[in-house]
């Protein structure tokens, strides 16, 4: 009995969101559970299940048609043999489907000439079998359930922890609630599954429907249930410490609430009446002039969902054509580069790389997964927590920490001060919430709070500068280094400290091979990871590096550079690597271990750093055009100040737009994309096509899960911002340190907030790989996960043979000419750099 219930719960669990605690945000396919189905079928099925939208609305698509984003050619091409007049007319014109009073209002307008037609159609509609009614998931949630589960999972907001947490959710709740049913269950010593079985019996759910019912009743609280599941599977993901989580416990409690309040029933929408069914046909008949009886079937066969599917395909086709047109041009080689720079493949680094190449035409840039092959748990000096820095599909086996050399008394004193101030800050903020201490703080110091209140809101940038300057007095000084070498002992279960020389050599060798850098390194190579910092943004971590599992890639770049420089590794003699990190929110760059740079290269490094700083300046200017409150005619320096202010502004819900512009990925040599204005739309992965497919298999295996996850999460959060996304940020309320709720009490909201995705174009990712089609075909076939994504069309993939025919493109002078004065998405352009 309990085995079958457990199986039912496991089945239901597959539909739950897989998002973990929000402080480490990992992008993943929102509909991961449906990947076995073809995309276009999966979104419709999931939409029905969750009550969510599968595609953009028809009205939105019609705006795109009006804007020329979808053309007649696209529609005809997508329809293929089905491109009948009726279908084209239905795609081009809005087909209203008014119901109830709205329809009656319109019917009054029908006059004599069309009245006959109308009567005929309605008469025909009456002869048809009725359509099945549409349903929506139940929405009822008991506030006490939310309070209880939030209390159970709480990671430190409440002063009082929930009693009996160590017994698991069901038992803790049973002891706390004390209602007669639960007291009786306690007396009989039932476990969660037993309680759930009894509740199901009391609700009258037959065993054959258990899985169905459990899945259904969890839908209104799927965020909480999903978190329970995530922490049950991997308790290490809890920010502090996970209580013993079990989805079965949660199900037992939810079913107990159902038992008290009645079954969770789907809301049923009545099927359309004959008049409501006839009206769209009537409109099409008028638009096309057709009167024959077959029209009814033709129109109904091309229903709203089907039209939206076709429009989505046309929307994607238009974009794909433009990408492939742009890529079909001759490669632009770089002769003997003065320095090289490796960035993350992130589409936000596309513009930075382009600007760097424009500033310094003799430099060469590369893109790779931003953890640079260094999979590790990392912690800063003084940081209590280990952060995994690598793609989510890898589990790190090494721990690396930062340490300071030269412990002077001055440094110790500063550290003590810093700690003291930190403690004071914490006492004031927790104390202000209590009774007596709160009264003293509010009466004595409260009025002083008006100073930061006014300063931070009215002058965010100046305030943060001032604050940082004061804080820098207490910053740790002295040189810090990463402790890279392998040492005995383990900091975390299943890990080792540091890397052996062999492991370092493998990491460096692999990256040099994949990017095609081996044997071609310039004397100076910059390795630049990225991260993002912003205030008042619970989703801050979603802006960090996806290839670092939602962490900041600086330590990885630093570790990689140190490994590559290590003479024992000795893979690139005569080359010096410098690690750095790019803050994609305020466009600043920080380099690590610059004191180690050999003197002979110092001037070269200074020149490279200056060029990179200029590139950041231009990058900030290019980014600023997307923000409606930043004027379009600002000079670059002022634009950068605005971007800096945004990252420090409490009142700014859009510190940056994250991956919102991601749309396609190019895997191949930079020569093919160099000098292309790609409008921050492209993940750029360096790959040398001179390969039999072994390296390609590694590259695809590392990259595709990350970029597909990002692309699909943005697709769903944009297409249904409140169903798949977490809605607008404005009422978000951090709960249990695990996620956000809407306002006072709601489900735990998963997905991306609207302010992060609002400029997105929901197209599936197009991956263009510079290789022979046969090679790509073979590599994809050999990797089941990627094969499933490609064959079910969750992403599109195409090969661009290295010797493909090329066309000479039209050019503009510089990036600035390509983007100046515009806010929206731009056509790709070829730069005359």
């Amino acid at each position: 009995m309990s085995d079958r219930l457990r199986a039912a719960i496991d089945h239901a669990a597959e539909l739950l969101p897989a998002q973990g605690p929000i402080s480490v945000f990992i992008h993943h396919n929102t509909l991961h559970a449906f990947e076995d189905l073809p995309f276009e079928q999966a979104v419709v099925e999931a939409g029905r299940r969750f009550g969510c939208e599968p595609f953009l609305t028809e009205a939105r698509f019609h705006e795109e048609i009006a804007a020329g984003r979808i053309t007649e050619d696209d529609l005809v091409a997508v329809l293929g043999n089905d491109a009948t007049d009726v279908r084209l007319a239905m795609l081009r014109n809005p087909i209203p489907a008014p119901r109830g009073a709205a329809l009656r209002w319109l019917l009054d307008e029908i006059d004599g000439l069309t009245a006959d037609l109308w009567e005929t159609l309605v008469a025909h509609a009456r002869t048809l079998p009725p359509l099945p009614p549409a349903t929506r998931p139940a929405t009822r949630v008991d506030p006490l359930l939310i309070r209880a589960v939030a209390a159970f999972l709480d990671q430190g907001i409440a002063t009082w922890p929930m009693p009996d947490r160590e017994l698991g959710f069901y038992r803790a709740f049973r002891r706390l609630c004390g209602c007669p049913i639960l007291r009786d269950e306690e007396a009989r010593g039932l476990d969660a599954l037993g309680s759930a079985t009894e509740s199901l019996a009391a609700l009258g759910v037959p065993e054959s429907e258990w899985a169905e019912y459990v899945g259904e009743t969890l839908l209104p609280v799927r965020g909480w249930a999903g978190m329970m599941r995530v922490l049950e599977r991997d308790p290490n993901r809890a920010p502090v410490a996970a209580p013993p989580c079990s989805l079965a416990d949660f199900v037992a409690v939810k079913l107990h609430f159902d038992r008290r309040e009645g079954r969770a029933e789907r809301a049923v929408e009545p099927p359309p009446t004959p008049e409501e069914r006839a009206y769209p046909v009537f409109r099409v008949a008028i638009a096309t002039g057709r009167r024959d009886p077959k029209l009814f079937a033709e129109v109904e066969a091309f229903g709203e969902l089907e039209r939206r599917r076709v429009l989505q395909l046309a929307y994607e086709r238009n974009f794909h054509c433009r990408v492939l047109d742009a890529l079909a041009r001759p490669p632009v080689p770089t002769a003997s580069p003065s320095f090289q720079a490796i960035f993350c493949l992130d589409e936000r680094e596309e513009s930075l790389r382009r600007h760097l190449e424009e500033v310094e035409p003799r430099c060469e840039t590369f893109g790779t997964a931003g953890f640079f092959g260094v999979a590790m748990y990392y912690r800063d000096a003084g940081d209590p927590h280990w952060t995994p820095l690598c793609p989510i599909q890898i589990r790190p086996e090494h721990t690396i920490e930062e340490e300071f050399s030269g412990l002077t008394t001055r440094r110790m004193r500063r550290a003590a001060w810093r700690r003291g101030l930190g403690l004071l800050q914490r006492h004031l903020s927790t104390g202000s919430r209590t009774l007596a201490r709160g009264a003293f703080v509010a009466t004595g110091l409260g009025a002083l709070a008006s100073l930061p209140l006014v300063a931070r809101v009215l002058f965010p940038r100046t305030t943060s500068r001032l604050r940082r300057r004061t804080a820098s007095w207490l910053e740790p000084t002295g040189k810090s280094r990463l402790r890279l070498d392998a040492r005995p002992g383990a900091d975390l279960e299943g890990t080792r400290r540091g890397f052996t020389v062999e492991e370092m050599r493998a990491i460096v060798s692999r990256l040099l091979d994949e990017t095609g850098l081996r044997g071609k390194t310039a004397p100076l190579v910059l390795v630049v990871g990225h991260g993002s910092s912003s205030l008042n943004n619970p989703h801050e971590s979603a802006h960090d590096c996806g290839a670092c599992g939602g962490g900041r890639g600086g330590p990885n770049a630093r570790a990689f550079a140190a490994m590559a420089n290590d003479p024992r590794v000795g893979l690139a003699p005569g080359t010096w690597f410098v690690g750095g990190v790019h803050n994609s929110c305020d466009d600043s760059i920080e380099f690590f271990d610059t004191d180690l740079i050999p003197n002979a290269l110092r001037a070269k490094f200074e020149a490279a750093a200056t060029a990179l700083d200029e590139a950041c300046l231009r990058n900030a200017h290019e980014r600023s055009r997307r923000f409606g409150q930043v004027p379009l005619d600002l000079p670059p320096a002022e634009a950068r100040r605005r971007m800096e202010a945004q990252s420090e502004d409490l009142a700014q819900p859009r510190p940056e737009y994250g991956h919102a512009t991601n749309a396609f990925a190019f895997i191949g040599r930079r020569e093919r994309t160099r000098g292309l204005f790609l409008d921050r739309r492209a993940f750029l992965i360096s790959y040398d096509p001179d390969d039999d497919g072994t390296r390609l298999a590694r590259v695809l295996g590392a990259v595709i899960p990350v970029v597909a996850g990002i692309s699909l999460e943005y697709y769903f959060s944009f297409v249904d911002p409140t169903g798949y996304g977490c809605g607008t940020k404005l009422p978000h309320n951090i709960v249990s340190l695990l996620g956000v709720m809407d306002g006072h009490q709601s489900d735990l909201r998963t997905g991306l907030p609207w302010q992060m995705v609002e400029i997105h174009e929901p197209v599936r990712l197009l991956v263009v790989v510079e290789t022979r089609p046969e090679t790509l075909d073979r590599v994809v076939r050999e990797n089941p996960a990627i094969r499933r994504l490609v064959e079910n069309r969750w992403i599109f993939m195409t090969a661009l043979p290295p010797d493909a025919a090329t066309v000479e493109p039209a050019v503009v002078h510089s990036s600035l000419d390509a983007y100046r004065g515009a806010r929206g998405h731009l056509p790709f352009a070829h730069l005359n750099a």
């Binding site: 006490l144 907001i157 002063t159 914490r426 009466t443 009025a447 809101v457 607008t728 309320n733």
Partner: protein, 394 residues
């Protein structure tokens, strides 16, 4: 003359802003975001300059200023609250201009915000009970409408309605007190105090009306900050302070005020301890301090109560404004303090925890009382219908 001008200078800008935004909305051409933002900023500057001058002009004992038929009272009680209102209106306006950019309800938010600024200024400056009542109503309506700001979701609307009903029921007290004061101040002196206390308890979420305060966190963050961290929640305390000379002689009232304040503080501080979301935690933390402030008023510590209110309002609105930074701040503190700084907390007795998690069952209690009243009214309604149909049949 100077005082009159300066008072006008402090009160007129928010009123002009309200008229400007309100009229444009009413004719269906809401002001563009940039215009609204600039107008709010100038309103803030103009009002703050007048206010700063006013502080120097008003004598220690306070004075009454006549603006047409309206009497405004300027003294050591109204000025701090006026300054607080104007400052928060400006700061929250600047905050919301960026926070609500591209939001469909941007204009609606600013109309409500300026309505609050006008309402609260009028409430604190009111020199007569009628004027106070007018301001009080404006604060209530703007408050409820901003809780229901996200009206496309059911919960905000539901919670806004609950708040509104709580306000309306308890506002009966102030309304009745006003009627008594105007018509027969001497005869019903002992009633007035209790009626005022009822209204103050409703608006400041004192026991047993405290259930609406966490529910009020449905609106956008800046409105939560100004209403429930700062202004609305202190309105009841202000009312008690303002009316104290008229009501202090009421037998038993002072003791009741102290008791209500202490009970609220205890209720709120216990409930705060089990809140697991940052906004509810801050709501109950606010309520804790409001309870203490009310107790201070009952004890006659009025200067302390004013200092406490103003300080608390500044502190709490800052905390609510930066509530979404919680994770960022926590990480920062952890980095400076280190991991082992905090001892694991132990769970409280289950009975206390249950009481706190259920918020002392005050909402259920109110529901039951209101339900009973509704039952009686429905019975009368049914009776009336029967009566009418009886006559109709003949």
């Amino acid at each position: 003359m100077l005082e009159t001008l300066l008072t006008l200078g402090a009160v007129a800008p928010p009123a002009a802003l309200l008229a400007f935004l309100g009229i444009l909305s009413l004719v269906g051409r809401p002001a563009p975001e940039r215009v609204t933002g600039t107008a709010t900023r100038w309103t803030f500057l103009a009002a703050m300059v007048s206010f700063a001058a006013l502080v120097f002009v008003v004598p220690a004992g306070g004075l009454d200023v006549q603006l047409g038929p309206l009497t405004f009272r300027l003294d050591g009680l109204s000025l701090p609250f006026l300054g607080l209102t104007l400052m928060l209106h400006g700061v929250v306006g600047a905050f919301a201009h960026r926070y609500l950019h591209l939001e469909r309800g941007y204009n609606r938010f600013f109309v409500m915000l300026s309505l609050l600024a006008v309402g609260f200024s009028v409430t604190v400056l009111a020199g007569s009970i009628e004027l106070l009542l007018a301001g009080w109503e404006l604060v209530g309506i703007s408050s409820a409408l901003l809780i229901g700001y996200f009206h496309e979701r059911p919960m905000p609307v539901h919670n806004a309605m609950r708040t509104w009903v709580t306000y309306k029921l308890t506002d009966i007290g102030l309304m009745a007190a006003a009627v008594l004061i105007i018509h027969d101040p001497a005869g019903h002196a002992s009633w007035i105090g209790w009626l005022v206390l009822l209204s103050a308890a409703g608006k400041s979420a004192l026991v047993p009306f405290s259930g609406w305060l966490p529910r009020a966190m449905e609106g956008p963050t800046p409105s939560s900050a100004i209403f429930y961290g700062a202004l609305s929640v202190h309105a009841g305390a202000y009312l008690l302070l303002r009316m104290w000379p008229q009501i202090e002689s009421t037998p038993g009232l002072a003791a009741a005020v102290v008791a209500l304040g202490v009970l609220t503080a205890i209720h709120a501080t216990l409930t705060e301890r089990v809140q697991t979301d940052i906004k509810s935690a801050l709501a109950y933390a606010s309520l804790t301090q409001v309870g203490i402030i009310v107790a201070e008023i009952g004890l006659g510590l009025h200067v302390l109560a004013v200092v406490h209110s103003v300080g608390h309002a500044c502190l709490r609105s800052l905390q609510i404004l930066r509530a979404p930074s919680l994770l960022h701040d926590l990480r920062h503190v952890e980095e400076t303090v280190g991991a082992t700084a905090e001892a694991p907390r132990s769970a409280p007795p289950r009975r206390f925890y249950r009481l706190a998690l259920n918020r002392f069952y005050f909402d259920e209690l109110l529901d039951r009382v209101v339900g009973a009243c509704l039952g009686v009214l429905r019975a009368f309604d049914a009776l009336e219908r029967e009566w009418i149909s009886l006559w109709g049949r003949r």
